[in-house]
């Protein structure tokens, strides 16, 4: 069991790891060297803690987590390491300095203290040189990726002397408690992630320079072909910091055979040297390949011309042929244009390097794909990309370019490295030369695995209903942004009937980047614009209300398992679920007001109910109304699952899962437990203050308008929301039910939809993806 951890080294990574441990509720001792220039001997670690609270996006899921981290200095406090169960060394990448620290630790460590280094490149055999048996048995490399809260990959390396029990404890802790995808790596330079990932970055950037592409063109192509984040390669170099690249490259080339292809990239191009000399190292410097400049009070994004070194306004390129990538990657790569040639040059470089080195660095192909997806945010790993193209096509194309074919590809007995067979997902095991079942760890359940080998119970183009066993179903939305349109809502209605008739529980879950962006406001706007207001009200607003009410009061338990954003109607889906098992990275908000409308699928009534029944709220008729108003009116969105509990979108009883891959399993377990003695909730009655609450809110809105904090239209929206929350014409001595508040919600959203300024907000969002204030 790991309950307490010491982190040595409070730099960006060390402090980030400490923060993430605190996110898991773990007590941390954060040590750094003694600050001789300060009266405060812990000054360096203290300063690092101060910085933690200012970093955006925050390394902490709740700001109060920092109270779990205690600071110290190595001189006074190293003796305290035995109070911890695990010590992570995150100091400078210098073998001698690390070895000196290990020697000190070796002298005082207890028998069962686990020790690890966060080194990104130094092999474990060098790190443990000269250490005794106990130290070597307890020592590992645990390599986190920056930022530790957000990047899932954790590479673990053991030596031949490592204790396997300790390794299991460490792997399990990092997986379940820290939410990491833990990958076993062989003891080679850069392990898996950096070995392939840095190679990919160098290849993609250098070939762009060589082939005369602009940074925007290269980034767009890389992000489309590899499914990389929008930063592509040059944007990523800006995030990482160009200054790090020479160090990483020399560390790689120093430790790799002279025949390794890394040596081709050892000499960095002239433009990189120019940028390094001029401190154009990226976001932490004064800009890099991209930079933001303020011109006439407006933020302008500029980019550097890779040949002339001159910055000019960055313009997103339009590359028509990239549309082919999704449909048919090979046909894009076959085009006779510079863009596809560039894509192939990088892709062939990376897949050849991967194919040639996988057996040296990894036990299997799955770990390589996983490392690239979880460490670099790619949508597809190298072997998954290979599968998009097929063995025959690749061999032909490589042969045309006179590349020799790597044996790993030659030995592949079929067209692809992965296949679904007999309801199981299988991968090619290169050591045995056969396909094997891809076994997920206990407690991991992946819907896309199920989808590869099963048919849905029912589906439409935007949503599906799946049977995941034990009477539990999954309702999956798979529209753009997982938004909810009329058809999806009707399908949810139908799915409730199906589950009611033949199953025992429903889990609402998907594996998209966001749980749901909310209602499809484009559809609603369209209906309004073409004069089908009745349709809008009947089908979308009140239709949605009925389905959500039916969901809440169905005979079976409904468990939502969100990850990513759950906004507007997506948030209301959670509010009407009987239980929420949320991923720690869940961002929940009733954001309708930003679009000039208001929650109208029951969001207002659910928030009032929750705040009315919260023990942490002051009593009386007003506090819950005021809090609901602030939450909805300011479109407050949680920055994590735990914060969603603090705000009140989730209840104290709702669950949090740290590891994304465990979310569906955890939700399913909750469902199985709830099935045993499930009773639908009782319908609540409300006593709302009525017009006096409206007046109180109106007074506040007037003040905000006077102070220039809100626009006249914001005030109008605020008043509509205030009317719903206060209960309209009711009086504090009257009881009203949910339907009464739902009617007020419907009335308010109709009034708001009619407003040209609200329509303008929605139109702008649909056009530009941006929220405007008007």
């Amino acid at each position: 069991m790991i309950n307490k951890v010491t982190v040595i080294g409070s730099g960006l990574m060390g402090a980030g790891i400490a923060a993430h441990l605190s996110n898991a509720g773990i007590e941390v001792l954060l040590l750094d060297v003694l600050d001789k220039n300060s009266k405060n001997r812990n000054n360096i670690a203290d300063e690092a803690l101060k910085k933690l609270t200012k970093i955006k996006p925050s390394p902490l899921t709740l700001s109060k987590n920092i109270e779990l981290i205690r600071s110290g200095n190595i001189e006074d406090h190293l003796k305290l390491i035995n109070e911890s169960d695990w010590v992570i060394e995150v100091i400078i990448e210098d073998l001698n300095i690390k070895q000196n620290l290990y020697e000190k630790i070796e002298r005082i460590m207890s028998d069962d203290l686990i020790i690890s280094s966060n080194t990104s490149t130094i092999p474990i055999k060098k790190l443990v040189e000269g250490r005794n048996k106990k130290f070597r048995s307890n020592f590992f490399v645990t390599h986190f990726f920056n930022p530790p809260r957000y990047l899932k990959l954790l590479e673990i390396v053991s030596s031949k002397d490592s204790n396997s029990n300790f390794k299991n404890i460490l792997s399990n802790f990092c997986d379940v408690k820290l939410g990491k995808t833990v990958i076993d790596c062989k003891d080679t330079p850069g392990f898996i992630g950096n070995r392939i990932g840095v190679f990919w970055m160098m290849s993609a950037s250098l070939k762009a320079i060589e082939m005369g592409l602009s940074v925007e063109e290269a980034d767009l192509i890389i992000s489309s072909v590899f499914g990389a984040p929008k930063t592509g390669v040059f944007g990523l170099l800006d995030v990482v910091g160009l200054d790090l690249m020479p160090h990483v490259l020399s560390s790689m080339t120093d430790n790799l055979d002279s025949g390794d292809e890394y040596h081709l990239y050892k000499n960095i191009p002239e433009i990189f040297n120019y940028m390094l000399e001029n401190k154009l190292i990226g976001r932490k410097g004064s800009g890099g390949f991209y930079k933001l400049e303020i011109v006439d009070g407006r933020k302008i994004k500029k980019s550097i011309d890779l040949s002339t070194k001159v910055y000019s306004e960055s313009i997103k390129p339009k590359i028509e042929s990239l549309k082919l990538v999704k449909k048919n990657l090979s046909s894009f790569l076959e085009l006779n244009e510079n863009y596809s040639k560039y894509a192939w040059a990088v892709l062939s470089d990376v897949i050849l390097y991967t194919l040639n080195h996988t057996s040296d660095i990894s036990n299997d192909i799955v770990s390589v794909d996983s490392a690239m997806k979880n460490g670099f945010g790619l949508q597809f790993g190298p072997f998954e990309l290979l599968d998009k193209l097929g063995k025959t096509w690749i061999i032909e194309k490589l042969s045309m370019d006179s590349f020799s074919i790597p044996s790993l590809l030659e030995n592949l007995p079929e067209e692809k490295f992965y296949k679904a067979d007999e309801g199981k997902l299988k991968f090619f095991n290169f050591t045995k030369g056969v396909f094997e079942n891809l076994e997920r760890p206990n407690g991991v359940l992946i819907l896309s695995d199920i989808k590869k080998s099963n048919k849905p119970i029912d589906k439409i183009s935007t949503a599906s209903l799946w049977d995941i066993g034990d009477g539990v179903t999954v309702f999956e939305i798979h529209s753009r942004g997982n938004s909810i349109d009329m058809n999806t809502m009707q399908f949810l209605n139908k799915s409730i009937d199906i589950v009611d008739a033949s199953y025992k529980a429903m889990v609402i879950y998907n594996e998209g980047a966001m749980f749901s962006a909310g209602a499809n406001v484009g559809e609603a706007l369209f209906l309004g614009n073409i004069g089908l207001e009745t349709e809008l009200v009947d089908k979308i607003v009140e239709g949605g209300q009925k389905v959500y009410q039916k969901l809440k009061y169905s005979k079976f338990p409904v468990i939502s398992a969100p990850s990513g954003m759950a906004l507007g109607g997506g948030c209301e889906l959670l509010l009407h679920s009987n239980f929420v098992q949320a991923h720690v990275e869940t961002y929940i908000g009733l954001t309708e007001a930003a679009l000039g409308i208001c929650p109208a699928w029951g969001g207002c009534k659910e928030l009032i109910y929750r705040f009315n029944n919260s023990n942490s709220m002051p009593k009386g008729p007003m506090p819950s109304i005021m809090k609901a108003f602030q939450t909805i009116g300011l479109a407050k969105t949680s920055t994590s699952g735990p914060e969603a509990k603090e705000i009140g979108f989730l209840t104290e009883n709702d669950g949090i899962t740290m590891n994304r891959d465990r979310l569906l399993y955890d939700a399913k377990m909750v469902a199985i437990e709830m099935i045993k003695k499930y009773k639908p909730p009782e319908k609540p009655v409300y006593r709302l203050p009525g017009s006096t609450a409206y007046s109180a809110i109106e007074i506040g809105l007037n003040g905000m308008e006077d102070a220039g904090q809100i626009s006249a239209h914001d005030k109008f929206i605020g008043k509509q929301i205030a009317n719903v929350l206060s209960g309209g014409e009711t009086d504090i001595i009257d009881e009203v039910d949910e339907d009464y508040i739902l009617k007020l919600e419907s009335k308010a959203i109709q009034a708001l939809f009619r407003e040209p300024k609200s329509q303008e907000r929605i139109e702008k969002l649909l056009e530009t993806g941006k929220i405007i204030r008007n």
């Binding site: 002051p618 007003m622 006096t692 007046s695 007074i699 003040g703 006077d706 102070a707």
Partner: protein
């Protein structure tokens, strides 16, 4: 008619709400420490106390439950001592002194603890359940006007620009800083014990604030106006208490008499210029005392906002050098219920310290009123 005198004054440090060192202390704990200190510094026989009258602007939550009586238990006062809470918003604890003086005059008691408290951290301004009357709001929106807008209205009416308000604020901070440096607050501050911490200093005084610094602040209430957070009193946590006795009783028992209460008054005004409340109230009180404003040696004028303070100084023709000698609420803070006891006690203390004859303590009150007390020295 029997005379009432102020025979003791003490207050807690005043600290900024939500941030300051008193944010985590309950108002009953804060107030009872101040009252205990006040009593222990006097030669008072506790059995003689008739009533503990506590002013509080939002007497609910931790400040509810009739905090006036609650603190009698926490101060180990005899069971015979009564307790009440009075509410005149910002004027609450000055009103508690007036109530005591009235009781003394009619022979209904000789010894009163007149105090005030407000934790604006723990009980929000306007309380937890503000429920304005919807019809009244429609008929006369100014009844529920924001205090900041009233300050803007006064600034407009009296042509007081931003720079002048800022000059007033800078002076308030300077005077408070110097008073603190010279130990002038030592006689009045009760050191507050909060768990393991001791709080002994006011939290809002900013030495060295300048026009440039204040120019950097955003307009707080009206984006076309002149009032900022820097020219307004901050949300504050604090408590203050005075010992009010019948004059002969005080003399007989060798109590330390600071001043005699010469007259008092309250007076209403338009709510949209509530900051002018001190003008009418002070005129009435001065008239009742039979003196005019030029005879005042010491003036404690609550600085709710710089604009209204300046307007009152002008209108009442007060001598600025006699106003808030040790700084005012812009620097020290304005814990609503506690301010009246602070400025009345302070005026009495200053009267003796400066060896002068007449003092005025006055303040404005939301919804449109003012309250004033005239003090005179006791030979």
């Amino acid at each position: 008619m029997l005379n009432a005198v102020i025979a003791g004054y003490s207050r807690s440090p005043f600290t900024i709400s939500f941030k300051g060192d008193l944010k985590s202390i309950r108002p009953e704990d804060l107030l009872s420490q101040v009252i205990k200190d006040l009593i222990s510094n006097s030669n008072l026989n506790k059995d003689d106390i008739e009533d503990v009258i506590v002013g509080c602007a939002f007497p609910e939550g931790e400040q509810g439950f009739n905090i006036g009586k609650v603190v009698t238990f926490m101060c180990d006062l005899p069971r015979s001592v009564a307790g009440m809470t009075v509410n005149r918003w910002c004027g609450s604890s000055m009103q508690s002194i007036h109530n005591a003086a009235g009781s003394i005059a009619m022979g209904s008691g000789k010894v009163f603890i007149c105090a005030g408290v407000e934790s604006m951290t723990r009980v929000p301004m306007l309380g937890f359940n503000p429920m304005p009357h919807p019809d009244l709001l429609k008929e006369n929106p100014n009844v529920y006007i924001s205090m900041g807008i009233t300050a803007e209205n006064v600034a407009k009416k009296y042509n007081i620009d931003r720079a002048e308000q800022q000059e007033f604020a800078i002076s308030s901070h300077e005077k408070a800083f110097n008073a603190d440096k010279n130990g002038n607050f030592k006689d009045e501050i009760t050191i507050i014990h909060n768990q393991n911490n001791e709080v002994s200093k006011d939290g809002g005084i900013r030495a060295g604030t300048t026009q440039d610094i204040l120019n950097g602040l955003k307009l707080a209430f009206d984006n076309k106006g002149t009032v900022t957070a820097g020219t307004s009193s901050p949300l504050t946590d604090g408590a203050a208490a005075t010992l009010i006795c019948e004059e002969e009783y005080a003399k007989k028992n060798n109590l330390d008499i600071l001043a005699r209460i010469k007259s008092s008054a309250v007076n209403g005004c338009e709510p949209e210029v509530m900051g002018l409340g001190p003008i009418g109230a002070s005129k009435k009180a001065l008239n009742r005392a039979g003196i005019n404003s030029s005879e005042l040696d010491v003036i404690e004028l609550n600085e709710a906002f710089a604009s209204q303070s300046l307007a009152c100084v002008k209108d009442l023709e007060l001598d600025p050098k006699n106003v808030n000698i040790d700084g005012g609420a812009i620097a020290l803070g304005h814990p609503l219920g506690a301010t009246g006891a602070r400025i009345t006690g302070k005026a009495a203390q200053l009267l003796r310290r400066e060896g002068k004859k007449y003092a005025l303590a006055t303040q404005c009150i939301g919804l449109g009123q003012g309250i004033a007390t005239v003090l005179e020295t006791v030979e």
